[in-house]
C-alpha cells in the first residue's frame, strides 16, 4: 500500500544532508512550513542552499534556520522585509550568499525544474543589472534573457489537507510556491493541517497531484508565525 504519511516533522526531515539544496514554500509567513523548518533546525544539517521567496521574519522559522548558521546561500526575490533582521545582518557582514531573482523568474525557474525544461527565455530583467552576464536573444524583435531551471534535493511545503497518496490542497494565498516546489524537488516533504482518506479531496480540485509528493506529516495546529514574531520568540525555544 502506498502510504506517504510520516509520524512527525523530525522523522520527515531526518535525512536532509549537509550541502543540500532545499526549497521552502511561503510568501512571507503565508505558507511557510514553520514546524518542518524547526525540525530541520533540530536536525542540524548545514551548508544548505535555500530557495525561498523571502528570508524569514524575527527569530523563528526560516529566519531561525539562517540565524542557526545552517544556510550557506539564499536564492530569493525579496530578502528583506519589515520584520527581517537575521539575513540582512549576516549579508552585510558577508557571511551569507545571495542570488537575487525576480519573483516571476524564480517561479518559472522552479516550474521548469519540475517540468523537465532545462532553460527558457523570458523578457523579465532585460536591460537591468539582474541580467548582467546572462545570455540574451531576440525573438520577433524583442530581447529576452536565458534563464535556467532550479531543482532541489528537498522541498519543505505547507498545505491545508493531504491524503496518503500525497494529493494536496492549499489554503488561500498560502498556496504560492508550494505546488511548483513539490514538482522540482527530489523529495517533497509536506506539512498539512489534516490528513484525509483517499477520495476525501475532490479529484477535480486537487492542486498538487500525489506523484509530486514523497512525504506528508500532519501538523493540525501550525504556529502563527506573525504572532511568534510579535512576541519576539526565538527558536530553538
Amino acid at each position: 500500500m502506498i502510504n506517504k504519511i510520516y509520524s512527525s516533522p523530525a522523522e520527515a526531515v531526518a535525512d536532509v544532508f549537509d550541502g543540500a539544496t532545499v526549497m521552502i514554500s511561503g510568501f512571507g509567513e503565508a505558507g511557510s512550513p514553520i514546524e518542518l523548518i524547526h525540525a530541520l533546525i533540530d536536525q542540524g544539517a548545514r551548508d544548505l542552499c535555500v530557495i525561498s521567496n523571502n528570508t524569514g521574519s524575527g527569530h523563528v522559522g526560516l529566519a531561525a534556520l539562517i540565524e542557526n548558521r545552517q544556510v550557506r546561500k539564499m536564492i530569493c526575490s525579496f530578502p528583506r522585509s519589515a520584520n527581517s533582521r537575521v539575513f540582512p545582518e549576516l549579508y552585510k557582514r558577508g557571511e551569507i550568499e545571495l542570488e537575487l531573482v525576480p519573483q516571476g523568474t524564480l517561479a518559472e525557474r522552479i516550474r521548469a525544474g519540475g517540468a523537465g525544461i532545462p532553460a527558457f527565455y523570458t523578457p523579465t530583467s532585460v536591460g537591468t543589472p539582474l541580467s548582467d552576464g546572462k545570455e540574451t536573444r531576440v525573438f520577433d524583435a524583442v530581447t529576452y534573457v536565458l534563464e535556467h531551471a532550479l531543482q532541489a534535493d528537498f522541498a519543505l511545503v505547507k498545505c491545508q489537507a493531504a491524503d496518503r497518496y500525497g494529493n494536496l490542497v492549499y489554503n488561500k494565498t498560502a498556496r504560492n510556491f508550494g505546488p511548483i516546489m513539490c514538482t522540482a524537488a527530489k523529495t517533497a516533504i509536506v506539512q498539512c493541517r489534516q490528513v484525509l482518506d483517499p477520495g476525501g479531496i475532490d479529484p477535480e480540485a486537487v492542486v498538487t497531484p500525489g506523484i509530486f509528493v514523497q512525504r506528508v506529516v500532519e501538523v493540525q495546529h501550525p504556529a502563527d508565525e506573525s504572532l511568534l514574531v510579535a512576541e519576539e520568540r526565538r527558536y530553538p525555544w
Binding site: 512571507g28 523579465t124 532585460v126 494565498t173
Partner: protein, 218 residues
C-alpha cells in the same frame, strides 16, 4: 532646483484619484505596494475592476475589518486582504503567467526615477550597503500591458525624479506609459515626455524647471 515646499500641486489622494479615473471598466489591475494601493478605493462608481495580487489571488477585495484578518489571505505587501465572490487562488507560476503573458491590463507602481524613454528605476538605489530586493517589479513592468507610475515629481531633496537617463539601476527599459505626479500627468510617447495635464498653480515653465528631461506640450 525648485523646492517642493513652494508647489501647490495635487495631494497624494488626488494623484491616486487621477490614476483611478484612467482605469477602464472591466480592467485587470495590479497595484504596487504603498501609494498605488490607494487607487483601489477611488475607482469611479459603476466600473468593475478586478485586482490581481502576484502572491496568488485574482479578485482581491478590501482590507478586512479588525479582528477578521487571516494570515493566509494577504496581498503582495503582506497585508491582510479579502477575496470577492468570483475570486480565485492559484500558485506562483500561474500568477506570473498572468503577468508575463500580458494578461493584466494595468499596473500602478511607485518610482525612484523615470527616464524620458520610459525606463523605470524603482527597486534599488544601487547603494552597495543596502540589501537588494526586487520582488515582482521586473516581471510586472516586462509583462503588464500598461504601466502607470505614481510618484512625487521630485525627491525629498528637490531633485527631479523624471530624468534624461536613470542613474539608479533599472527595473525595466521603455516600460512606463504614463506618470502621475503631484505636479502633472505626463505620457511617455515614442521615447518622449508629453504633458497631458498640470495641477492648479503649476505652469509649463515651472514643470520644465522641476523636470530633468525635455517636456512636450500635449
Amino acid at each position: 532646483m525648485v523646492s517642493n515646499e513652494k508647489l501647490s500641486g495635487w495631494s497624494v489622494q488626488q494623484m491616486a484619484e487621477k490614476v483611478a479615473h484612467d482605469i477602464p471598466d472591466g480592467a485587470y489591475v495590479n497595484l504596487g505596494i504603498g501609494i498605488p494601493e490607494l487607487v483601489a478605493g477611488l475607482v469611479p462608481e459603476g466600473r468593475e475592476v478586478i485586482y490581481h495580487t502576484e502572491n496568488g489571488l485574482l479578485g482581491m477585495g478590501p482590507v478586512p475589518p479588525a479582528g477578521m484578518e487571516d494570515p493566509e489571505l494577504i496581498n503582495a505587501g503582506k497585508k491582510s486582504v479579502t477575496a470577492i465572490p468570483g475570486a480565485c487562488y492559484f500558485h506562483h507560476a500561474d500568477s506570473f503567467t498572468m503577468i508575463r503573458g500580458k494578461h493584466i491590463d494595468v499596473c500602478v507602481l511607485g518610482a525612484l526615477q523615470v527616464s524620458e524613454k520610459g525606463d523605470l528605476a524603482n527597486w534599488s538605489t544601487g547603494d552597495p550597503q543596502a540589501i537588494p530586493a526586487v520582488g515582482g517589479a521586473m516581471d510586472l513592468v516586462a509583462g503588464v500591458k500598461t504601466i502607470y507610475v505614481i510618484s512625487k515629481h521630485m525627491t525629498k531633496t528637490g531633485e527631479p525624479k523624471i530624468v534624461k537617463e536613470c542613474t539608479y539601476p533599472l527595473t525595466g527599459q521603455e516600460v512606463v506609459n504614463r506618470i502621475y505626479t503631484d505636479m502633472a500627468i505626463i505620457d511617455v510617447i515614442d521615447k518622449a515626455l508629453v504633458v497631458r495635464e498640470m495641477a492648479p498653480g503649476v505652469s509649463f515653465e515651472l514643470l520644465r524647471d522641476c523636470t530633468g528631461a525635455p517636456l512636450h506640450r500635449g
